[in-house]
Subunit: 401 residues, 4 copies
């Protein structure tokens, strides 16, 4: 690997659509030292427009030429899902570090090929899972890892909005699936971080249905991922939500609770009669009444910290927190979820190369009240007296003290 210390990253963006622009916006903000030097789009005219908008010196409609360009250190894939594998293989061949948008593959088979390609080529494969880099997520994760909420026993991640912007998302062949693949990948990886990446996801139960949009794929899904230590990672995703973009996470631990709201309720509330002004809210469905803008969207959605971690990792010749292996695990969980959606039962998760710990089944540890009893619950009554509910270890009988 080249030593990048003390120099800037030179970046190529593949794709000039909605997500490509979001990435570019983040990369030119706040006087970052890294530069976008190249952009690829299927059509020359779109590539040129994008290059002009972001003051990028080079553009092309030839993806391979773009990847191999001398002035490119790192390739950022912002293409439709069906193009990820091809683009990653080309990066591996060219020996260029590659950062790929989510989900990594349309399925685990594709993802595994990508993982093996970057590992064989000895390049960094960064998984652009932005929602695992939001400022709130990072602080929560640090707090959980410091033990502040005890053992995590249940997490929930919810992402819901009225449906994606780009047409290819609605085409199952190109996208690989519906809302589960598009939004569920975020939720699954969020929960997996909170529960602990060392803990193996073992099985999944998932419901999905097509309720509102005339498409083949599911537009609503809810599921539970069970981990080896008994923890549950719940996900709720929808392309039919009304009211904006709903991005919430919750964690229940034995000693605490975390609630995050990343979008609709972040301390910014605005009412407008709509009679004056020119307000067009992002992803909002209406322009008057009570609106809930987000201050700095790209930052709040994790893009700033995500790219910082990616480029820092490349400089340090290490792996970013979210990398192709994580992308592969998420795809494996989603494959099982799709099976469950049809089999209507819990389905095992098949991960070929498990790299976490093998915890095995853990013995349950109950809290002692005294030598002969477990403590079930203790509370202070309104009159100040402490009441304990206990269980006899031998007889199993429940008593009050």
């Amino acid at each position: 690997m080249t030593n990048y210390k003390y120099r800037n990253m030179k970046l190529a963006i593949l794709g000039s659509g909605f997500i490509g622009r979001f990435y570019a916006d983040s990369l030119v903000a706040q006087r970052r030292k890294d530069e976008i030097t190249m952009v690829y789009s299927r059509t020359e005219v779109n590539a040129e427009k994008f290059a002009k908008d972001y003051n990028i010196p080079n553009f092309s409609s030839d993806m391979i030429a773009c990847i191999e360009h001398d002035d490119v250190d790192v390739v950022i894939i912002a293409l439709s899902n069906d193009m990820h594998l091809e683009a990653v293989l080309a990066c591996a061949k060219a020996g260029k570090h590659v950062l790929c948008t989510k989900p990594l593959g349309r399925n685990a088979k594709e993802a595994l090929q990508m993982l093996q390609a970057v590992e064989d080529a000895n390049i960094v494969g960064g998984y652009l899972e932005d929602l695992c880099y939001t400022p709130k997520f990072l602080k929560s994760l640090a707090s959980i890892q410091a033990g502040n909420i005890g053992e995590v026993i249940w997490t929930k991640s919810r992402e819901a909005h009225p449906g994606p912007h780009s047409d290819w998302f609605w085409n199952k062949e190109k996208s690989g699936g519906g809302v589960l693949l598009d939004l569920g990948c975020h939720c699954i990886e969020i929960s997996r971080n909170f529960i602990g990446k060392n803990c193996k996801p073992v099985e999944v139960m998932c419901w999905g249905d097509t309720r509102v949009h005339p498409i083949e794929a599911e537009d609503n899904a809810v599921g539970l991922v069970k981990y080896e230590n008994g923890a549950i990672g719940q996900f709720e995703v929808s392309w039919t939500f009304r009211g904006g973009m709903d991005l919430r996470d919750e964690v229940m631990g034995t000693e605490g609770t975390i609630w995050l709201n990343n979008f609709l309720r972040t301390g910014f509330e605005m009412f407008t009669s709509g009679k004056t002004g020119t307000y067009v809210a992002e992803k909002a469905e209406h322009n008057s009444g009570w609106l809930f803008p987000v201050g700095d969207e790209a930052h709040e959605l994790g893009y700033s910290h995500m790219f910082t971690d990616m480029f820092d990792a490349i400089e340090k010749q290490s792996q970013p927190s979210e990398n192709f292996y994580d992308g592969y695990v998420v795809n494996a969980i989603m494959d099982a979820a799709y099976l469950s959606m049809h089999s209507k039962q819990w389905e095992p998760i098949n991960i070929e190369q498990w790299r976490g710990e093998m915890e095995g089944v853990r013995e349950k540890k109950w809290q002692d009240y005294d030598e002969n009893h477990y403590l079930i619950k203790e509370e202070i009554l309104p009159n100040g007296i402490k009441k304990s509910i206990i269980k006899n270890k031998k007889t199993g009988s429940i008593e009050k003290r």
Copy 2:
């Protein structure tokens, strides 16, 4: 039936525990005209104490005598779950109207016996499902029924706290189950109301586990109830939540969204250093730092409107909104949920006497874009241009306009 018009209800409360006191508090508040004339407790001393506290003229440790007392029109059952059936049968025998706390039975078999008993005796059987009477719930329900959020496609009801106050709850024999039975009954009936009581619940998938407390029954559970029209009623319940009592409901409709928070975030926020004063918060786990009290708990939890509906129904010789039939349906759903918890697959719900509509499977109606296309999604881009994503009815191809 006696004509109660123009006179007060004379009430007996069976049970002098936590829930009995909550009921009594509600019944003596705001200068209500109905009077508690009798209280029963297993022990004479508890009955006497309760009678004294609420200024009740009669008390007894003989349940049958209490029910049959001349000065009693309506019996309110606030006993442990294993006592409901016996008490209801005695009320039916005595021809006294009966209001029973939730869940109605420990299982559908018990509930069905109770339902048949009150119907045979031609008395009112009120199901004391208070959370289907909270002011927020009632207004939400009216709004949904007026069509304001379109067709309901998904609802979620969540109830979580650190565990019940009374010891019998922790004993599976007496309670009939764990947190699913104790709290899930609320959540299931809330969702059932939002989706529509005419719509048949057909199958259920449920996860439950014992994670924290040394008990036989589950202390955490999550499940999905599927209705005949495709709607999903999700429930999340926990006896291991940290931070107080979490009572939230959500509804997603095709034209709108409803979010309710009944307890921890209701517009009342308080910080105290804990150095002065005597604050003891109800169900809170701590007495300093940020606390979130509820103004008038019994009212916010639905007790006021619940008893009003019950007594008004008796006066009008009709049925309250929540009655024994509803209690039976909820028990039937929970029976299937317990099966699913162990079989790890969706389980059919067995309702012997379905009284709602028989909708059958409904044909899906997609929205037309034009003669040859369905509309998938329409949005206004930041530049003001309208973008439509459509689907060719014949070829199924997805296009952008």
Copy 3:
């Protein structure tokens, strides 16, 4: 006084407008035992309509006849401000208890006449200050009185909406003033309760202006009331607020903080596209987008607990928490506020019959750090070390320890 124990109150309502209906709604809710037996309106047709709507046996357009009617124990005044004095004097003459809507008078002179009239007649004069009876207010007040937030040093009460419903409010002759009189009376009494009714309000500074509506009186006002112990009661009122009804209170104590939101953010959130349904929100300015309904408005606004306290007081032959003396004090504060609005300086508050304590100026008590120093501030630094900022009692120099 008659002994009302064991019997219901028989009530006359004077006025059939918006506030009269709000009172009646509250009085017929939740099976209260007290009955409205009579209604007065200026026009026979309005009186009859009101009587029919609420199932009231008698109605009249003769106010005196209404007050003197045999079947009336208590008179509730829901008239425009210019009619309060005349109605109260008639009640006093008839020896009927009287409950008067807020503000008591158009000024302190009128209020004092009313206070003297009820005291001379030995009847109860209840001041219908509903916002000092909201469930959140009552619990907050109890908590403050229990010492949980230490000494109250600053309170703020804010009431703002787009303007009143009835035309007479906009006529300064009839109402006696603008938004300060209409809404400020609530805010002033809320703060006065929190600071302590025994503590004398001494001076007031107030800004007011007519910014939006073409009226003589002020449509916006902000003011500070200073109390003898140094505490400040701040009020903010507006008839030009956009977004619904904003009802918030805040209290800062030496050991804690209280924040109340009574209307726009109470845990009830709803989005509707507006394409279906018939939603008409109360006092909201729009029918689509995000809406924030209140569950049981009359209850949340304090009407239930207010009338309970009033009738309980009459039964017990005592005074309700909010009575004519309180109404008089509030009028005296508002008189000074109007003076300040024009003199542009702090104005003394002239209360003829101060019935609270005479505290005098209190000596300040600083917290000792040691014999020679006061403690200014103590904090735990991120590295765990305790840092103290102290002041030398003799030299006054500030030091760090």
Copy 4:
């Protein structure tokens, strides 16, 4: 001026205390291209420690040497208030661009000297008013400037916490005042932006008192700044608030409302029993119970966007949005506020070099109902009927239609 285009800024930080570290944290985050090349502290050991912590090549305890160092383009002043003037004069002499923390001076006289110095030296004088650069503030301001809430008639900015970290703040000689100077400067400039910098602040009314801490200066203050167009900018500041750091802004316009919460309620909620883990919350007063962390504090507090604007302005040879002229205006307003605190009346604001527009007194424009009437208020009644309250232009009488 040198042309900085295409090169990084080389920065010196004067001061190694709390605020200096906050600035440095922001400047090294997210791979910014600008570099800190020098740090000054009064003591060599502190300067060295700071340099080591942030990997800064040079450090010094000689302020002048530090400013004049060849490898320094821009000087950032993070010193106590009494040192600002001296440091700015040295920068001006050395011809180095200077960014100064808030407040600019201890009073307007000092601020004016600094303004004149940078203008005479033809260097950029950036005013580090971070709260006018928070992401929420920037989006709000853009929305207001686009007309979305109509004309701004009232704004409020509130900043409250338990008191500053550094000892010199508590020393009136060094700081120049109390909480009004420390926190009021933020609030005043926030409101001034919302109302419009072209609009002249004309007079101010302020209350302040020393209620809790044993200091000379005020620890609580509330004030109103009146602008030429009639708008009011309200500020509330406290060094005695309990519960963390309260940072809220509100704006009332004729067509809308904005509410911002920058710290305590931003969609991040956490409960911890405190039994496990190592949580130490920033500026929080407790480590257990419900806590409200902020995701990325420095970013949310505006530091990222502030420094970006400052360096971009230097590159473009223009002025940043917040510059020394703004700092001077804020000092002039605070001088008048201190006068008012003692005179107990509105005091005129004396700005020697007003650079905004001279609006003069504007005529009020009322909304017409028809030729002969103004419209006071229009509303849709629950029965769907539109009710208008109007005023006769000639007679002034109020009518209902």
